[in-house]
């Protein structure tokens, strides 16, 4: 059972990393606009609409 003394803090450290990632993402404004990126995927990088690549 003593392994828990390692595993639980390890789990918490992993959780902290995830939370820090979330805070970073919020700070960058990743959650400000949830609509436009969904639309943007249909544009190609060269400015045209995405064509079938087959």
């Amino acid at each position: 059972m003593s392994i828990l003394f390692v595993l639980v803090p390890l789990a918490l450290i992993l959780a902290t990393v995830a939370v820090l990632g979330f805070i970073w993402a919020v700070g960058r404004g990743e959650f400000e606009d949830l609509e436009t990126p969904a639309v943007r995927v249909i544009f190609e990088d060269d400015g045209s609409f995405k064509q079938d690549q087959r």
Partner: protein
């Protein structure tokens, strides 16, 4: 579905955009009807459609569920300043790492994916622009450009304007959440849920048998860990609730001490109390190793409450933002002319009455005043909602907020800053306060009673058990306080309101504050403005008498004019395309004289036409039948226009501002909801009475000839008599009444100011939104009442069981989240403003409109 199939389907439904499926505004129907019978809602869609078509990518339309943008449809361009003053650039633009400048613009008229694509092409089209990123939902555009190229900002404004997008720089200090409060809130939600999750995981071990006897080391360590995590959650996540609760307690205590009687405690108090007691008793238990710990319940509660707050704040955001954006119109700098002719740019607040300012073409006038030099076409859309241009010259009044569309003028300032008409109205709008107090107090009173009930229950039960066993008494009291946490009371109501607000927004009903729905549900009286609300706000030819040929000639002549009456005549009789037209005289407010195919045609007010005829050498005889009809029309409340050809009176037209087609049904439905409809109009009695008869309303409910002050007085009187008043209007003359009524509803296409004054605004065409609002608000209040009943029921049971000593930390940890989840499901299942409900006849009213135009056009070509 094949491509052909899709295309043909799109041809059958002509009033939907061929690209995005959004309804097509009337202006675009006129513009786009000629070409291959495809209609588009905006230039962006048209461009994208053709781009796709040329690239042979019509398959795009198989996935026609392109995420359609929010329905924030603006009417075509109102005030678009065509330059960004240097001061604004200096203040608002941020310098990026690579030395380029970035500016946030508010953009109107964004409909769909096509607009995003088009606008984000900006770096390709405008020299110097490095990046353009559009936030579709909020209509915000971040543009980054080369600081070295000074003309770039003006160029990209012009570029946007060319496609019909109205853009203006946003005032950073006025953007909600710009200070990072939105982000802080979201961060809080994420962090508290992570903490709550971990605390729950740890406590699961305790529930499944881990205790201090069997594994003292691990159990103690995990208890301490839970305490640390929950402490972070409490002082970081619940910080706002604790502060607000403390403020409420202090305010209440101060009021009690000063002998004013106890002021009600807000619902934050029981929330904070539950959290603190749960945390403190658990901390004591952890430190001493004796007693129960409730940390998982506390952490869950904090996470749930902070999420609920976040949802609540987000819900009304779109609506408020849009109103604020519309009012960010005043320039922040003025160009002052000193007596010696020098021009200097000064901040708006340095401007004083008596000074002279220059307003160049495309600029917004910064102050109220009189034009002293120059001529310009003014656009008063901010005040009146009218997008037509009005010519103005020396001696004419001009108000702050009015756009000089072309021509440069000098204006002698009469009032500046807050003293302007716009400033006064804005100040008025800002002071929201007293009128909502009643509703808030009601909720707070409930919270106050709740605290009292729970505290006395906890005290009684604690004493009862504590007499024999002190530890058991404390434990029971704590159990009561923790389990009775009014999560449901604190969360359910705002959540139901926020969800309804969001759903309403997707139907074109924008609600600025949650409590507006509460006020709507208890409405007794609905007051309508007439022009632009019950009616379309534009005259139409309703009566005609005399020679048809003369009417066609008149229409050909009027096609050269932009007056609304002229447009009505052209709409009714169509363009007389082949005619050679020469306008000889255009007298505003009287009429037009001109030559059409060699015949002299007079169109105008009867007095002016008759007078002109008498003066003319031909001296034609007035026809008695036409004069008689003229009198009839006047009596019916119509605006009368006479037509004379070559000196002879030939025809007479009666113009009415026609009722919206759905008005009668809406008024009847409102009455069926036992709400009293009323009309308050500034229009003259004849016209208003005609509408009254058509709607079948009793005389005492309809008042005409009112000034804005009289409207306000009537609203006040009704409010004072205890009625709950909903006011529906569209003009600046309604702004005050909209503000004063319990709920102000602004119609689409109204003045920006009316929009800002209102609590609700409708972006869909027509009145259907008013009915939906009333129905939806009643529905949502049923849901809220059910939620409150449920929450109280849960608490009564919870407190009873806890008082009997039946609530252990495990039961609390299950019961509390379960109660919230049940509540959430109940709220979500209650589909207020449901989209599957019978759809409003927005489309059908448009169809009528199109048919009308089509038949009018067909008639003319005969």
């Amino acid at each position: 579905m094949t491509e052909q199939n899709t295309t043909s389907k799109r041809h059958v439904a002509p009033c939907k955009c061929a690209h995005c499926g959004e309804p097509v505004p009337a202006s675009m129907i006129e513009a786009g009807a000629g070409e291959d019978a495809l209609l588009f809602c905006c230039v962006g869609c048209e461009a994208v459609y053709h781009a796709l078509h040329e690239a042979g990518f019509d398959d795009f339309y198989r996935f026609s569920a392109i995420p359609v943008g929010s329905n924030l449809q603006a009417k075509p361009s109102i005030t678009t300043p065509n330059t960004i003053p240097a001061q604004i650039l200096a203040k608002e633009a941020t310098v990026c790492e690579d030395g380029s400048l970035e500016l946030m613009l508010g953009v109107d008229g964004i409909h769909c994916a096509g607009c995003v694509w088009l606008i984000e092409q900006m770096p390709r089209a405008v020299e110097g622009v490095r990046e353009a990123r559009l936030d579709m939902g909020r209509g915000r555009l971040a543009v980054r450009w080369d600081a070295a190229r000074e003309e770039t900002p003006d160029e990209f404004l012009a570029w946007l304007g060319r496609f019909g997008y109205e853009a203006r720089p946003l005032d950073g200090s006025k953007i909600q959440g710009h200070d990072g409060s939105d982000r802080a809130m979201l961060r809080r939600v994420g962090v508290t849920w992570a903490l709550a999750g971990n605390v729950m995981l740890l406590s699961a071990a305790h529930y499944s048998g881990l205790d201090l006897e069997s594994a003292p080391m691990i159990a103690t360590a995990s208890r301490w860990l839970m305490l640390i995590l929950t402490t972070i959650a409490l002082f970081y996540g619940a910080d706002v609730i604790l502060r607000r609760a403390w403020a409420a307690v202090m305010a209440s205590a101060r009021a009690a001490l000063s002998g004013l009687g106890a002021s009600p405690l807000s619902v934050d108090v029981p929330l904070a109390l539950g959290m603190l007691i749960g945390w403190a008793s658990s901390a004591y238990a952890t430190v001493t190793g004796v007693g129960d710990i409730w940390l998982d319940s506390v952490a869950m509660l904090i996470a749930a409450v902070s999420s609920a707050r976040w949802v609540q704040v987000r819900a009304g955001r779109a609506a408020r933002q849009r109103a604020e954006q519309l009012l960010a119109i005043l320039p922040q700098v003025a160009r002052r002319l000193s007596p010696d002719g020098q021009v200097e740019e000064v901040n708006l607040d340095e401007l004083a009455p008596g000074e002279l300012v220059e307003v160049r073409a495309g600029e917004v006038c910064p102050a109220d005043g009189v034009i002293e030099y120059g001529e310009a076409a003014l656009q008063r859309g901010v005040m009146t909602g009218e997008s037509r241009l009005e010519p103005a010259s020396v001696g004419d009044d001009i108000e702050a907020g009015v756009l000089a569309a072309d021509g440069s003028i000098h204006v002698r300032v009469r009032a500046a800053g807050d003293a302007t008409r716009l400033g006064e109205l804005m100040a008025w709008i800002d002071e929201r306060g007293s009128k909502r107090a009643a509703l808030i107090q009601q909720a707070d009173r409930l919270g106050g009673w709740f605290v009292l009930a729970v505290l006395s229950a906890a005290a009684l039960a604690g004493i009862f058990w504590g007499v024999s066993d002190f530890a058991a008494g404390v434990s029971v009291a704590v159990a009561i306080l923790v389990v009775s946490c009014p999560c449901a009371l604190g969360m359910a109501t705002p959540l139901a309101l926020a969800l309804a607000t969001g759903r309403a927004a997707s139907r074109g009903i924008f609600i600025k504050h949650d409590d507006t729905l509460e006020a709507c549900a208890s409405a007794d009286v609905v007051i309508f403005d007439k022009t632009g609300t019950l009616t379309r706000g534009a005259p139409r030819v309703s009566e005609r008498f005399g020679d048809e040929g003369a009417m066609l000639l008149a229409s050909a002549l009027e096609a050269r004019s932009t007056h609304p009456i002229a447009s009505a005549i052209v709409d009714a009789f169509g363009h007389h395309q082949s005619a050679r037209v020469e306008v000889l005289e255009d007298r505003p407010g009287r009429g037009v004289r001109g030559m059409v195919d060699g015949q002299e045609v007079l169109v105008g007010r009867p007095e002016w036409v008759i007078e002109s005829l008498e003066q003319s050498p031909a001296g034609g005889t007035p026809r008695e039948d036409i004069l008689a009809r003229c009198e009839d029309y006047k009596e019916a409340g119509s605006t009368v226009v006479m037509i004379a050809v070559d000196g002879d009176l030939e025809a007479v037209l009666g113009l009415d501002d026609a009722l919206r087609p759905e008005a009668k049904a809406i008024v009847e439905n409102i009455r069926a909801m036992r709400v009293r409809p009323m009309i308050l109009s500034g229009d003259h009695a004849g016209a208003v009475d005609a509408i009254r008869v058509e709607l079948g309303m009793p005389e005492e409910d309809v008042k005409a000839n009112l000034t804005p002050e009289e409207k306000l007085a009537i609203v006040d009187e009704l409010c004072a008599s205890g009625a709950h008043v909903v006011m529906v209007g569209d003009g600046v003359n309604d702004a005050a009444a909209l503000q004063r009524a319990h709920v102000g509803v602004a119609m689409s296409g109204g003045a920006h100011l009316a929009l800002a004054a209102a609590d609700v605004f409708l972006t869909g065409e027509g009145l259907r939104g008013v009915e939906q609002l009333l129905e939806g608000s009643r529905d949502v209040m049923t849901s809220v009442r059910r939620n409150i009943l449920y929450a109280l029921g849960y608490n009564v049971i919870g407190v009873t069981v806890a008082a009997l000593g039946g609530v252990t930390p495990l039961i609390a940890a299950i019961a509390m989240p379960a109660s919230s989840v049940v509540l959430l499901i109940m709220t979500l299942m209650h589909r207020t403003f449901d989209e599957s409900a019978p759809l409003s006849p927005e489309f059908s009213s448009r169809d009528v409109d199109i048919e009308h135009r089509a038949s009018a056009g067909g008639g003319a070509s005969l």
